[in-house]
């Protein structure tokens, strides 16, 4: 087996490094196996500069039909596994066909790349950016392994920042159950940045049920596909208890929810006609018999430029 294993080992080592690798900010990214890795962070319109190093093993010769590096923006739908949509694809040829005998370094550069969407790791969908190096080799046609070992993915997270919205109204609403419960709630804004604080209050106009507690949930709704093939997945990202015990008429309960501890993304609308991600604030009242009364309100999240 060792012998065989050795036979299928890639004959060379490929590594990609970015020019400002050490200084660049890194963010965690969850892989399919559930583990997080730290990956460099890029903004849209940035230059991606670096080099590819190919180092043949055992002093072997590597024959190839050319080396290229691609920058890909992909959307991957989990329910449709294996189906990638590349919305961005840029290629740089690094080498013409020939043989490699020793370690060789190829610099590359993608200038002011348009990366319109953010990387996103959802329940049913993943949007990612990768650099892909391919060493094309000529083999007997019935062998297709070249994809396996010649391609190395290096993931680059890209996030887009937006300025604060010009119009940002509060969310205010009166809801209730006839003759049982009337409340009025207010969230100070309808649009929040990711490190924002949701301030608000709940005013009890009428309370005839025995409330046990009240919480505010942040829910994320991810919808993919279109038409009959639409998949909608909702997750609760935060449960934040607002009130303990039963209030009486006239009480006003404050809301202050810091968003920073939660793993949130900006709101995405119809990304590449493939998917949307929306966020909701769900106000839940639980009564003595664990019945739940709730009201869900969409709110928008955006990423605020940290150092404008």
């Amino acid at each position: 087996m060792n012998f065989l294993a050795g036979a299928f080992k890639p004959p060379c080592k490929i590594s990609i490094s970015l020019a400002d690798g050490g200084a660049r900010k890194k963010v965690p990214l969850k892989k399919e196996n559930g583990q997080s890795v730290m990956v460099p962070l890029f903004h849209s319109q940035e230059n991606i500069v670096g080099e590819v190093i190919i180092e043949p093993l055992y002093g072997k010769k590597v024959e190839h039909n050319g080396v290229k590096i691609e920058l890909l923006g992909q959307i991957e739908l989990y329910f449709d596994r294996g189906n990638f949509y590349d919305f961005t694809s840029l290629v740089r040829e690094l080498d013409v066909p020939g043989d490699l005998y020793e370690r060789k370094t190829y610099p590359f550069e993608f200038s002011t790349v348009e990366m319109p969407y953010e990387s996103y790791n959802g329940v049913n969908i993943r949007l990612r950016y990768v650099l892909k190096v391919t060493i094309s080799r000529n083999f007997v046609p019935n062998i297709v392994e070249y994809l396996d070992f010649v391609i190395i993915y290096s993931v680059v997270g890209v996030r887009n920042y937006s300025p604060p919205p010009a119009i940002n109204n509060s969310i205010k609403m009166e809801v209730g159950i006839e003759d049982c419960l009337h409340i009025e709630f207010e969230y100070s804004k309808s649009k929040y940045h990711l490190k924002d604080v949701i301030i608000g209050k709940i005013y009890f106009l009428l309370v005839r049920i025995k409330i046990k507690n009240m919480e505010l949930e942040i829910r994320r709704r991810e919808s993919t596909g279109s038409g009959t093939n639409t998949y909608v997945e909702t997750e609760t990202l935060a449960k934040f208890e607002l009130m303990d015990g039963a209030p009486v008429r006239g009480e006003s309960i404050p809301i202050r929810l810091f968003l920073s501890p939660y793993e949130l993304t900006p709101t995405y609308r119809n990304i590449n006609n493939k998917f949307s991600v929306k966020y909701f604030l769900n106000l839940v009242l639980v009564d003595d018999e664990d019945r739940r009364y709730f009201k869900q309100q969409e709110f928008q999240l955006y990423r605020l430029l940290e150092n404008p």
Partner: protein, 789 residues
Amino acid sequence: MIVDGIEDEEKWLAEGIAGIQQNAFYIHRALDANNLREALKFSAHMLSELRTSKLSPHKYYELYMRAFDELRRLEIFFKDESRHGVSVVDLYELVQHAGNILPRLYLLCTVGSVYIRSKDAPVREVLKDLVEMCLGVQHPIRGLFLRSYLSQVSRDKLPDIGSGDEGDADSVMDSVEFVLQNFTEMNKLWVRLQYQGPSQIREKREKERNELRDLVGKNLHVLSQIEGVDLDMYKDTVLPRVLEQVVNCKDELAQFYLMECIIQVFPDEYHLQTLETLLGACPQLQPTVDIKAILSQLMERLSNYAASSTDVLPEFLQVEAFAKLSGAIGRVIEAQADMPIVGAIALQVSLLTFTLYVHPDRLDYVDQVLGACVKKLSGMPKLDDNRATKQVVALLSAPLDKYNDIVTALTLSNYPRVMDHLDNETNKVMAMVIIQSIMKNNTCISTADKVEVLFELIKGLIKDLDGTALDEYDEEDFNEEQNSVARLIHMFHNDDPEEMVKIICTVKKHIMNGGPRRLPFTVPSLVFSALRLVRQLQGQDGDVVGEDIPTTPKKIFQLLNETIEALSSVPSPELALRLYLQCAEAANDCDLEPVAYEFFTQAFVLYEEEIADSKAQVTAIHLIIGMLQRMNVFGVENRDTLTHKATGYSAKLLKKPDQCRAVYACSHLFWVDDQDGLKDGERVLLCLKRALRIANAAQQMANVTRGSSGPVTLFVEILNKYLYYFEKENPQITSSAIQGLIELIATEIQNPASDVFFVSTLRYIQFQKQKGGLLAEKYDSIKIRFPFV
């Protein structure tokens, strides 16, 4: 069922404590490692134990205290930024990430308390934020404890004057605002506790709430401890806000407790200056609130304050404390129409006590209070409520105790009117109190008018009131009462005879209504009181000899005559007889022969007509004889008449020995041992001989009936009389007569030696013989043969 409940509770408590201890262990470890994140995580876990709803307030408190101790450590850790490297501002945000509200808020309060103490913290904002965020806990018990925690951790850090902050006044205001708001919210939660759960366990709820009340009251205490709360701030902000909450919460328990709290925690001086506001709240309280207890406490405090120093009295006057209190009480009574009468009276008692302390010189205030009572009591039947009666007694006793002087009370026009509303029994008790007060203080009542008023007050003792059956009286009590009245009469005195006569007339007028049972007690006092006046007049006789002087002894004697007459018809003849004799003596001293004669006549009439009992007769006749003997005012004729009568009655006594003794006593009527007294030796001898005859007869009767002659005491007694007159130089009494008598006795006695009386009489004679001098010569002729011993 209930037992199970308690056992379960113990179990839950134990579980909670275990949870806290376990997490506390991890907290300690995190703190030792200066690991903020872990410390926060386990603190949140630990505090989650406080989310339980299963414990009663008492048990919950136990759990809370354990968590509290741990939080103190955490606070110290938070304070030291070098240990965790997070600024307090960031920490303040960090703790708010906790998902559960209760742990989140406990941690927030903990960090908040560190925050407000740190320099350049926006104290006002933080305080406001803390107290508002706590709104999230609406569960009464958990909310109360959380806010109590907030109050506890912040109280020593609140900005105050002297805390070195800039803008002192503002920051004090911030503190006050903070505490007030926390107080308001706590009170709301506390009140709400009442309305939770099924109504069957209402009583249990009330008990539990009582256990929690100090958590609420603590806020008021904190307020009182803030030095920056000066009178103005108290008046303008603190008190109105607190009262607003108290009034608006509409909860009996809370209102009562909080009013008490206000009164107890804030200084007296503030109360005095804000009386109007404080009192204004009272009528707005729930009708079931025991306002009288509240007001009583207030007045008690103010009274003590007034008593503490005379310097503060002007303040009381300045703020018209009395008028305000009086007005407030009036309004409360009016507002709470169904307040039991006892409550209203108790309020007035408190007010009275207050007045007596603060304005001891303002009798009109006292009268005003009493007037208010009369108003309240009028239109009602006599009090039959025991407690109310007690209160009225307290009301009436208070001025007596204070002034130590009934005379002052007598000037209170409403005093008797209040007494009218008491039932007869209590009325008497009250009358006794009044009398005792007079006795204790030795107060002299010096005018007829006062006497009149006083008798009006104590009329319960003086006469039978309507509807009281005589047989209801307890004999002992009755005697006690009447003795007191008798003593009281002696306290009426005026040196001016004219006024004194008026007093006596007044007294007479009243006691004459007393009825047969009272007269024997009261008349002697009156008589002696009058006789004292007579003696006094007699002393000044020389000075005032005007014709038209209304107060002559004669007049008084007339009065006395009537008085005693009343007594004799009661009938209490023996007592009347004695009094007649007393009067006769006084008349004698005043040289008023006809008057004295009249009194004697009355005495004899009584003797004849009323005194039937033989023993009483004996006593009476001896009294008559004794008094008559001393009379020197009578002319021969009158005297003869009287002595004749006396002697006659003596001889007519029932028993021989009594006859004998009375007769030999009569002998003194003929021998007055004075300078120019009557000395009729012959009649003396006649009396003695008669006595001897009676004694002899008695001896024989004894022989007949019992077969033995009784003792010879009578003979020996007569022998002693002989000896007396012998020594007084009565020529009719000779030594031979004495000698004969001695012989007679010696033969009569079977064993003379055993008769001590006789032997000692003989020894006396012997002694006189040996003494020498004139008397010895006289005795010389008497031979004594001592009996064999």
